[in-house]
Amino acid sequence: MKYGCSVIDRLAGCIGQQVVLKSLAGIVQQMLANEDWRFRYIGLMSLSQLGEHVELNDMTPVIEIASKYFKDPHSKIRWAAFHIIGMVAGDCQPEFQTRFHQSIIPALLQSTEELVPRVLSHVLSCLQNFVEGMPEECTPPYIEPILNTVFPIVQNGKFKIVRESGLTVISSLAEASKTNFRPYYEKCIPYIYEMMKTYNKKEQKQIRGQSIECITLIGNAVGKEYFAKFVPEVVQTLLDITKNDISADGTDPQRSYVLSGWQRICVTLGEDFIPYLDLILPSLLKLVEDVIGNAPQEDNDYSEYTMPEEKKTKKERMDDIHRVNYNTFDHEEAETAINMILVFINELKKGFIPYVEKTTEIILKAVTYTINNNIRERAANCLPLLLEAVKESNYEFKDQVLVKMAHMFIGSLWQEVQKEFDPDTIMAQVVALRNCIDVCGRFMTQQELDDLSSKILKLLAESDKRKTEMKDMRQLDEDEEDNHTKTLEQEEEELHIGIADLIGVLFKTHKEMTIPLVNILYTQVLTKVLQPNMSDKLYKFGLYLIDDMIEFLGIELIPELWKELSQVIINFANHKTSELRQAALYGIGLLAQKSPAAFGDIADVCIQKVVDSFKIPKGNEAEKLYQYSLDNSIATLGKIMDSHSNKVNVPVLAKLWFTHLPLKKDKPEAHQQHEMLMDILLKGNASMLLGENGEGIGHLIKIIAQITDTKLSNDKIKAKMSQVLKSLAQGPTQALVEKAVVGLSELQKTRIASLLKM
């Protein structure tokens, strides 16, 4: 069954969703008319698989079909019908939830009258999936009805599977409804806490774990002011469970719930969690220390891992990369513990200071832990956060300590990067290096910077050499599987991009001190990677480097390279690959902002490139990548208008810019552009965008309705949107606003109403 579904999924992926759905729909229609339940069952199950690939509109008939079978006499058919809804709820969220909540939630609540435990549990899982994807604004009317129906099932259900599924509904409801859950949490927590405290039999471990999850998610949803009164008891019980009730063999389902529970409590309480740190952190640090301290070291049992690279054949090095790590229960425990430490440092920042020294000591050992790459990776992730904790502290000598720690961390990470064989881990280490430097800012001397630069260039050269070797090997060795070496090559190219980011942060933090590095990069690296017929990833690497040079060094520091770099950017601005186009368009925006005087000479050609970039079709790329590129086309237009209003034809550009708004993916760019839109309107230039007779108001209302309370907006923009909306909603434009609101979805209408009330 599962295999059959996976094949249909693969077909939809390679042949095209529409084609497969069309053929499948015809066959399934016949199957649903068959008397044999197996035909109807398989027919429904095959449809459940398609939501991931098709648009919600194409799934609407499937949802209608499923709804017809909620009351089928055969339990498996009912199960399959709910399965479809559960799958679509996961695949098409939040659109499915937004459009169907009024019909689906009541239908599911009614279906909890189901008598077959397996099906009832599936109804609840389906409800949980649906609720999980609901936008917060849709949840208020459903919290009470869902609790009224599901809570009695959790309390009195006869079957464990039903009670467990019911509890996850409440968890998801709290998570989705956030602060809207406040009126209900006091009623829920005592009962769930009772489960957490008293369910200590073997067969209750799963549901007890879920009760921990539920209670901590509720705490997270309602916020610390509300959760505070339950915290001491919850924390104490969690400590008791950790100490006494978790079996040591790794099979106890409570374990993972307890650990993620601690993290949620930490995130909920913020600095109020500090008093509890003393109860939890020492045991975590000890756990890590025990695991990494007891391990055999490089020079004995595990010497094969550190065999000098030069002694290895190419084949051995390739094998190394795919060698399975030693991954025991202890290692997983240690990895989990490091993850928790990471969350604690990240949340508590300067509150973590008392533990920085001890943690640094252990984490640095974990960074070099030979036997398990996950541990090395997670440990590397902790280092920049430790620096941040020190940076935010009030410690008198923090600047000196910070520099000392940064040198220590960078030294340790470099040592590992040179020995590392796992590409993902190298990447994590390079990212950690980048973040360490970013936190500390300008802290290296010229000599130190030059040393680091030459190490980075060496890493780049080695990565390049490995890439070339793999390419040669692929061509020479016919037995070698194509995809394997191709993947390795791609991993090297990914590493190139990680290195570009690392170099970028050096430009950002050490400015003019990086000029020697810039010259080497320009003459030895950029000219090579930007040649014709190189891979897209290498072009991306090159463009990222150039963008960073323009952004962080500016024309003043690299005047003689400016023209050449600008030309490269312009050449890529209409590239067929979205990611490259995006990087180049972003670069044009930077050129406009960073070299106002020099931009005049290239303004016309740049504007033409941006205008043309809107016309490039999507092709086979993922929607997300295409949208990012489109967002950057819009943002670049905005930046040119903003920085060169006296040199360009603003009204024409503004019209084009406004037509393409809003941005949909690129969060930082979206915030900048959407705020700029509101500023233009508030400064009295509304007619330039909205027309003399307010023709553009409909589009403006749509933009506002689409971005309000999403990641594409923030509080500042929201306040400005409210101001704009209020001024348009009165006087002569009132009718136009009202007309525009009629065409919006229910959710969008709620958003507009809330802005008008602000």
């Binding site: 095209g16 197996r38 199950m45 397996r118 079957f159 998610l217 993972s256 993620s260």
Partner: protein
């Protein structure tokens, strides 16, 4: 055969109708002893489709025949365990089933503030 189709799909393109019929025949055999065999026959065609999707895009009858072959196999192996409706209490039950079948390995739980998902 699966390896061959993956590595040299172009070779099979010429003779695809023969290949398809052969696999159809395997799937059509009643009471076959080795159930995995039918799965492999389906796999051969799926691997080909992934390498040469256009063959299926251009031929709707072929796609329909293949989908019927898959669905017939699913019906054939469809069975309901005795304790399906009322699972035995005390048995460790893995409760969440909304997973896409493309997920081949069990996802280990991750640290996140999100609700924990156990994949079957």
């Amino acid at each position: 055969m699966i390896d061959l189709v993956e590595q040299e799909p172009r070779f099979f393109k010429k003779y695809f109708s023969h290949l398809f019929q052969a696999m159809q025949k395997i799937c059509g055999v009643k009471n076959i002893e080795d159930e995995g065999l039918k799965q492999m026959a389906i796999q051969v065609i799926c691997c080909f489709a992934e390498r040469e999707p256009k063959v299926f895009e251009d031929d709707t009858k072929l796609l329909r025949d293949y989908l019927e072959m898959i669905l017939a196999y699913m019906i054939e192996i469809c069975e309901t365990p005795d304790d399906w409706e009322v699972p035995e209490e005390g048995k460790r039950w893995r409760y969440l089933v909304f997973t896409n079948c493309v997920l081949s390995s069990q996802d280990i739980w991750k640290f996140s503030l999100k609700r924990q998902t156990i994949l079957v």
